[in-house]
C-alpha cells in the first residue's frame, strides 16, 4: 500500500543574489512499513526534501499525498492533528528541544497534543515509551540537558513514536553518534519498524548507514533523484556518478577484508 506519494516537487531558494534550486522535479513513493534511504552529498537537496515533507518549509510546486490525503493542502488545526501520523527525528536533537524541558515532558507533549491516551495514563505511557527505547522510567524527571547524546536520540525516537505515526522522517538521525551507540539506535529503529509497521524516510550522506536499514535507496544530486532501486542493487551496481561517488566514499577497514566474506 502506498503511504507516501510525492510528485514533481520543486523548491528554490534565493541565496546571496543567486537562486539555488534545492528540489527539481522530485518524485518518490513509500509503502507502509518500508524504509527508503535517501542519500546525497551536501547541497544535494535531501534535507530540503525532508523539510518540505514535514511541512517545515513550503514547496514551490508539486504534490504530496500522505495516507491518501493532499498533505500540502492541510493547514492550521487540521495540519497539527495530522502531524501525529508523520513525525521526524533530526541530527541535533538538543536544538529541537526546549532546554528547560524534562525528558518526561518532551515525550508527554505529543501524547497531550494528539490526545493519544487519557490524561491519567500519560505517566504510564511515558514510562512505557522510555522502556521501549531502552531507558529507565526514572529518566522522565531529568532535564533534557542532563542526558548524553545517545540517550537524547533515544528520547527523540520515543517522542516520535508516541503519537503512533505511520511515517518517521529521519534526517541524519544517527550521524552525530559514536559508532557503538549508532549501531544500537539503528537496531532500535529496525525493531520498532517490525513491531509497529512504521515507514521511514531515512536521509543521510552515509551510505553504510542507509545500507543497514533501507529496503530501497534513492540518490539525490543537485536537487534531483538521479537513481533509485532496491538497496542491494543501488549499492552493488551504482550507475549515476553521484551514486558511484557515495559508494566509493564509504571507508572500509583495510586489513579486515575477510571479516564479511561469509
Amino acid at each position: 500500500m502506498t503511504l507516501l506519494d510525492v510528485k514533481n516537487l520543486d523548491k528554490r531558494y534565493a541565496s546571496g543574489g543567486r537562486v539555488v534550486t534545492a528540489l527539481d522535479g522530485v518524485s518518490l513513493t513509500l509503502s507502509a512499513g518500508e524504509t527508503l534511504g535517501l542519500a546525497g552529498a551536501s547541497g544535494s537537496g535531501k534535507s530540503t526534501l525532508a523539510r518540505v515533507l514535514t511541512r517545515l518549509v513550503p514547496a514551490d510546486a508539486g504534490t504530496v499525498h500522505f495516507g491518501g490525503e493532499d498533505w500540502l493542502a492541510l493547514s492550521g488545526g487540521e495540519l497539527r492533528r495530522r502531524r501525529a501520523g508523520m513525525q521526524m527525528v533530526f541530527q541535533d536533537v538538543l536544538g529541537a528541544f526546549n532546554p528547560r524541558a524534562t525528558v518526561g515532558s518532551v515525550i508527554e507533549d505529543p501524547l497531550r497534543i494528539h490526545d493519544i491516551v487519557p490524561k491519567a495514563e500519560r505517566g504510564r505511557e511515558v514510562a512505557m515509551l522510555l522502556d521501549r527505547v531502552g531507558l529507565p522510567a526514572a529518566y522522565a524527571a531529568r532535564s533534557i540537558r542532563d542526558v548524553s547524546g545517545g540517550q537524547r536520540q533515544r528520547i527523540a525516537i520515543a517522542r516520535a513514536i508516541a503519537s503512533r505515526p505511520a511515517l518517521i522522517v529521519l534526517d541524519e538521525a544517527v550521524s552525530a553518534l559514536d559508532v557503538s551507540l549508532r549501531e544500537k539506535v539503528l537496531e532500535l529503529l529496525v525493531a520498532l519498524q517490525e513491531e509497529r509497521g512504521i515507514a521511514y524516510l531515512f536521509v543521510s550522506h552515509d551510505l553504510a548507514v542507509l545500507a543497514a536499514v533501507s529496503h530501497r535507496i534513492a540518490i539525490m544530486d543537485a536537487g534531483r533523484i538521479v537513481e533509485s532501486g532496491p538497496a542491494a542493487e543501488v549499492i552493488g551496481n551504482p550507475k549515476s556518478p553521484a551514486a558511484r561517488a557515495l559508494v566509493g566514499a564509504v571507508p572500509r577497514l583495510i586489513g579486515q577484508e575477510d571479516r564479511n566474506a561469509v
Partner: protein, 259 residues
C-alpha cells in the same frame, strides 16, 4: 624512524574539572609517520591533539613530559593544526589569501607580495579551483569542503614538519571526506611531514595510517601498526570498535533486503 616527540605520563585536567581529560599517556610520535589517534566522544583524543600542539586553553593543568627531538616547536611554524570545523577556524572578515599568507608571512618573514605568492601556491597545492580568484574570496563564499582545503593550505603555509588534524572531515559529507583524506595523505607524502590524524572512525584511519593509537576515557588503550591492530586487537575495546564498524559489505539489519 626516530621519535619526533616522546610523550611520557601526560595528563591534562581542564580548569574547573575534577576528572582528568587525559591521564598516563606514554606514546612516541615517530618522524615521518602517519599516526591515527582513534577514540569516541570523551576519549581525550582532541585533548591529546591540543596538548601536543600547545593549544590547550588557559588554566588547563598539564602533568608529564613532551620531549621533542627538534627542540620546543612553535605552533603555526613547526606544527600546523587543522580543526574539525573550518567555518569556526577561519576568520570570516579576512580573505582566503590573507589567511593562508598570514602564517607564512609571520613565520617565514615574507613580504606582503611574497606572502600572496605563497598563498597562491598553497591554494594550488590543495586543489582549489581557480586559485587566483579564490585568493580574494571570503570563507563564506566557499563550500564546506573548499573551506577545509583553505584551512589545510593555511596550516601548511609556513612549512611545518608536523601536521595535526583534529577530526578534519567530521563536519563534511562522505564524498568530500574521502577527497580531503586523499589530499592530506598526498600533501604529507610530498612534504615528508609527520601527520597526527585524530578521528572517531577506525576504518577511515585504516586507509592511510601507519600506526593507530586507540584512546578511551582519557587513556591510551592500545597502540601498534595499523594492520596488526586491526587483525589482532589486544584490547577488548579495540575489538568492539572494529566489530561496530559498518560498511557496504556488512549484513543489513533488516530481514528482507535480499543480500
Amino acid at each position: 624512524m626516530t621519535a619526533l616527540c616522546e610523550i611520557r605520563q601526560l595528563a591534562v585536567t581542564y580548569r574547573g574539572e575534577t576528572m582528568p581529560a587525559l591521564k598516563g599517556i606514554d606514546l612516541d610520535i615517530l618522524g615521518g609517520e602517519r599516526l591515527a589517534i582513534i577514540g569516541e566522544s570523551g576519549s581525550g583524543k582532541s585533548t591529546f591533539a591540543r596538548a601536543l600542539a600547545g593549544l590547550l586553553p588557559d588554566g588547563a593543568a598539564v602533568a608529564g613530559s613532551l620531549r621533542w627531538s627538534t627542540g620546543q616547536p612553535r605552533a603555526g611554524r613547526d606544527i600546523g593544526f587543522v580543526f574539525q570545523d573550518p567555518s569556526a577556524s577561519l576568520n570570516p572578515v579576512l580573505t582566503v589569501g590573507e589567511q593562508v599568507a598570514e602564517g607564512a608571512r609571520r613565520h617565514l618573514g615574507l613580504s606582503r607580495r611574497q606572502g600572496e605568492a605563497r598563498a597562491l601556491e598553497m591554494l594550488e597545492r590543495v586543489h582549489i579551483p581557480d586559485p587566483a580568484k579564490a585568493l580574494h574570496a571570503f570563507p563564506h563564499q566557499l563550500s564546506g569542503g573548499q573551506r577545509q582545503r583553505v584551512a589545510i593550505a593555511a596550516a601548511l603555509a609556513a612549512r611545518p614538519g608536523l601536521l595535526i588534524a583534529d577530526e578534519p572531515t567530521s563536519a563534511l559529507d562522505m564524498v568530500v571526506q574521502a577527497e580531503i583524506v586523499t589530499l592530506l595523505d598526498e600533501l604529507v607524502r610530498e612534504g615528508g611531514m609527520t601527520l597526527v590524524f585524530v578521528t572517531h572512525d577506525i576504518a577511515l584511519a585504516s586507509g592511510f595510517a601507519d600506526r593507530v593509537a586507540i584512546f578511551r576515557d582519557g587513556m591510551l588503550v592500545e597502540t601498534g601498526a595499523t594492520g596488526t591492530v586491526l587483525a589482532k586487537p589486544q584490547a577488548a575495546y579495540t575489538a568492539a570498535l572494529i566489530a561496530s564498524h559498518r560498511d557496504l559489505a556488512t549484513p543489513p539489519l533488516i530481514r528482507e533486503a535480499g543480500r
